[in-house]
Each structure stands twice: as C-alpha cells, then as structure tokens.
C-alpha cells in the first residue's frame, strides 16, 4: 500500500470510529416521497381508513409539497384536527366493496435542525399566553400534577431557566428509563402509570412523552411530534435510521421544549436509549462514546431523516365510532364498525415505503 492510499484508508477508519460523524450529505433541503398503501382485508360493511399526512404547517426544517391518492374509495377527505391541526386523509368505501384499497403519496422536504443553546436569538419565536397555556396543559395520558409534577420538581431542583430545567429532565429520562423491545408499537405514553409502577421501560411514545409531561408540569412548554423515519442516518448511527425503503414499522416520535430566546428546541431522549440498546454491537454502556455523543447531540438537534406527521394528542378520528387515540402515528382502519389493530400492519395490511427524490 502506498503512502497516499494508506493515509486515505487510515482517515476513513478514523472517521468511522468517530461518534456522530459529520453528515456525508449536503446540509441543505432534501426531498422525500412516502407511499402508504392500505388494504382493508375481509371487509364487512362500510370500511374506513385514516392515513396520517405530513405536518400541516411549514417549518424551518420541514416543508410539505403535496399529497395525492389513488384507489377505489367512494369518497376521500383531508381532515384537520381543529385543536392540533393533525392532518389525515380519510377514505370511505361502500358496503360491498370486495377489496378496499387506497395508496397515498406524500412529498415533502426536510433539512437538519439544530439550536445553539447559549446563544439566544434576537428574533426568536415567542409564544402568546394562550399558546403557552396550551403547551403546558395535560392530556389524557400526560397529567401534569400528582406524581408527574412531584417527580419533575425533584429533578429540576436548583434549575432556574427553562433550558436548565429541560436539560435536567432530559438527563433524567436518559439515565432512568430504558428502551423495552417488547413494547408494542412505540408505546402509548401512559407516564403516570410508568411513574407509579416504577417500570420506566418503553419506546419513543413513552420516553419522549415522559420528557414532555415532566417539562409541562414544571412550567416548561413542551410537545411530542409523531412521525416516521424515512432514510438512513448520515451520522454513522445504524439505529437512528432505516436501512431499506420499507418503513412500515419505522414510526418514531420526538419532542420539543420551548425556551425564551431560542423558540422550540428539538430533543430526543428516547433515541439516546435506542442507541444504548440497538446500536451495533448492541447493549452499549451509557458511558460508551457513541452514546455520549448521541446524548449531547440529541439535546438541541434532530437529523431530519424523519418525517413529522403531527403533534396531536387525544385525537378523535372523524366519522369513527372508536374512542379518541392517544396520538395518530399509524394508519387506522375500521370495517363494519370495528376498528382494526393499528399496530398490526399485516392484519390491517398497510405498507409504507420511502425514498429520497433527487433532482
């Protein structure tokens, strides 16, 4: 091996060993397409489906381009939850339709997102009193009193600013919860039960809801965002991306808190626990450099190899006789007035594919 080749090989090896490698891709906007195909198998009577759509409002890190659908639905409708602006495509099939099917294509753009804490922005977003109250309020599964507030007060003792409180809660979630691979789906985020039982295992729907509930209970506005991973991680973390175009089971939720001078700050303590459990070779120590790098990075930044659907809680599906959902991150369907299991894409039969669209 000549010196030049040796240096290149050594540099590549060194880079591969570095946690949180610089992104190989451009830091600019990337365009993605998801295709969600839903089939209601063994239909009985009128069938209905609800397919989550990309975030309604454009942000600095995600912009919707458009959606289209094809299939044999009798009628379709884009519905938006009036409280959280949860967008979904509603499809309805007539009684007697032998093979209800709909395919929803969504295009959107994303770019990586980072907030530099320590450098307040002069033009940072602000919240009205009503918005602040909204993002401090309790939801069905995320109370902000009792054991939730008691726990948060202990965690944030001595913390003065919203950033300091949020950071203390983030560290606590990373240090005290764990990713439980046996949790169905992403977990429903019943944080009161988690705290009362002392079982702090779960997935993103549990762990990030824990962050949100604890933060809200001590006056730090916070919210969950529900979505799906759409690409591999460009930062050298196999566990934080998807390895194939099939993203049917790649749903993932994240969290944000609001801090004066910075606006909404992205965090993802659940993904730190995912790195601990799943990053090869697996079951890493919290002190592992890869975990430490992820822990540092995921307080204030998100890699946008992920599509945000919405930030809704207690979502009542239009025209559904079923109860409100803790959140809408999965395809839902019912036939003959009976909801199908949204966490079983084979029973419900839906598939999601994702690809990056190059110019």
């Amino acid at each position: 091996m000549d010196r030049r080749a040796f240096l290149q090989t050594s540099a590549a090896a060194a880079a591969a060993a570095l946690p949180w490698q610089p992104a190989a891709a451009s830091a600019g906007w990337r365009t993605f397409e998801t295709v969600t195909r839903v089939e209601v198998v063994n239909p009985r009577g009128v069938s209905r489906a609800w397919v989550p759509l990309p975030l309604t409002d454009d942000t600095d890190w995600q912009k919707a381009i458009g959606n289209s659908w094809a299939g044999n639905a009798l009628r379709t409708q884009i519905a938006t939850d009036g409280k959280y602006r949860v967008a979904m495509l509603y499809a309805e099939w007539r009684d007697g339709e032998p093979a209800p099917v709909i395919e929803v294509t969504s295009r959107f753009m994303t770019r990586d997102r980072a907030v530099e804490l320590g450098k307040p922005l002069p033009n940072a977003e602000t919240l009205t009193a009503a918005e602040r109250a909204f993002y401090l309020s309790a939801t069905e599964l995320i109370p902000t009193d009792g054991i939730v507030r008691k726990t948060a007060l202990e965690i944030t003792k001595g913390a003065k600013s919203d950033v300091a409180k949020a950071h203390a809660i983030y560290q606590w979630v990373v240090d005290n919860t764990f990713r439980d691979p046996k949790t169905r789906g992403c977990g429903w985020g019943d944080i009161k039960s988690m705290l009362e039982s002392g079982n702090l295992g779960g997935k993103c729907g549990d762990l990030n809801a824990m962050f949100v509930g604890l933060a809200r209970s001590v006056g730090v506005p916070a919210r969950d965002l529900y979505g799906v991973r759409v690409a591999r991680s460009e930062y050298g973390y196999a566990s934080l991306g998807v390895g194939s175009p099939n993203v049917t089971r790649a749903q993932h939720c994240r969290a944000e808190f609001f801090a004066s001078g910075y606006g909404w700050v992205p965090v993802d303590p659940a993904d730190v626990r995912k790195v601990v459990l799943e990053e090869p070779p697996g079951k890493l120590a919290v002190s592992d450099p890869k975990v430490e790098a992820a822990r540092k990075r995921l307080f204030g930044s998100w890699e946008m190899n992920w599509l945000a659907y919405n930030m809704g809680h207690d979502v009542k599906l239009p025209d559904s006789s079923g109860p409100a959902l803790p959140y809408l991150m999965y395809v839902n369907a019912e036939t003959g007035g009976e909801m199908r299991d949204q966490l079983d894409p084979d029973t419900l039969k839906y598939a999601i594919t994702a690809r990056e669209v190059k110019a």
Binding site: G66, N67, W69, A70, T76, T80, E140, A324
Partner: protein, 163 residues
C-alpha cells in the same frame, strides 16, 4: 375527560364516475401570479372575463397524469370561447416538467409553483386539485382527485358559467 376535537374538511372527492363538482365555499379567491416554462408571468386577474380551470398537479401524482388529457379535450371542445386551463406544477424541476410534456403535449400554460406557496394559499394540499374560476374572477367550483374534465356534466357546468 378526553378532549373533543373538531375536524375541518379541507378536501372532498368522490370516486371517479360518481364525481361532481363541488360548489366553492372556501372564501375569497387567492392571488395567482406564476411564471410558465418560458418565463412569462401569468396572473389570474389577466384572465378576467373567461372561465379558468386552475389545476394543481405533479408528475409523481398518478391521478394527475391520468386526468391531464381531459383538460385538453375540454379546452378544445370550447375552442373559440373564453375558456382557459392553467396547470400549476408543485415545486418540481423544470426539466422534469418538460420531459413530461414531451410525452404528453398540452396546449395550455404550464405554470411553476416553485416553493408551493400558491398551492398552499389555494389550500391545494392534495393533488390533483382543480378550481373552476368564473368570468368574474371568483372560484365557483372545486374538485379534489381525478375527474374526466371533458365529460358532459362538467362541460355543462362550464357552459353555464359562460352564460
């Protein structure tokens, strides 16, 4: 207590064959000023006195591609009368739109909504979305989803707007 949420319907479409144009109830007609593939700016206001079909579409949208020839048939069936079609592409590269037109030549302007800002102003979040604008410049009908725009029921609606 579970929060009760109200849902606002933004789009509605019936399956092809049973489709009907829906009367527009969405309020004022948004502005539209976009460049075509040759760089000429088209403003909706410039089409006052004509019935204009504003169609939001994308090459990646199969129903959009399927219904596109029916706009051409509609336009030709009203030849010599003040009926125009403005196709608005959602944020795709010019080259991709041009390649599409090489395969499917169309006789009406192809406008470029590069940042999809116009589509959002028109609430065209699902495509195809087509708005029928009357000679007075106001949206009269809307249809989300695929439709045969050269069908007799649609032609009848357009003809009524010309009376």
């Amino acid at each position: 207590m579970r929060a009760l949420v109200a849902f606002a319907a933004i789009g509605f479409a019936a399956a092809a064959g049973a489709a009907e144009l829906k009367a527009w109830t969405g309020g004022a007609t948004p502005e539209l000023a976009l460049q075509d593939l040759q760089g000429r700016t088209h403003r909706l206001a410039d089409y006052r006195g004509k019935v204009v079909l504003v169609n939001f579409w994308a090459t990646w949208c199969e129903p959009c591609r399927e219904e596109m020839p029916s706009f051409e048939r509609l336009r030709q069936s009203f030849a010599g009368r003040p009926v125009e079609v403005l196709a608005v592409n959602l944020g795709e590269p010019v080259g991709r739109v041009e390649r599409f037109l090489e395969r499917m030549p169309l006789g009406f302007p192809m406008l470029l909504d590069r940042d999809t800002g116009v589509a959002k102003a028109w609430k065209a979040r699902v495509v195809p979305a087509t708005f029928v604008v009357g000679p007075d410049g106001r949206i009269r009908y809307v249809h989300y989803g695929e439709l045969d725009w050269s069908s007799e029921p649609v032609r009848k609606r357009v003809a009524e707007l010309l009376e």
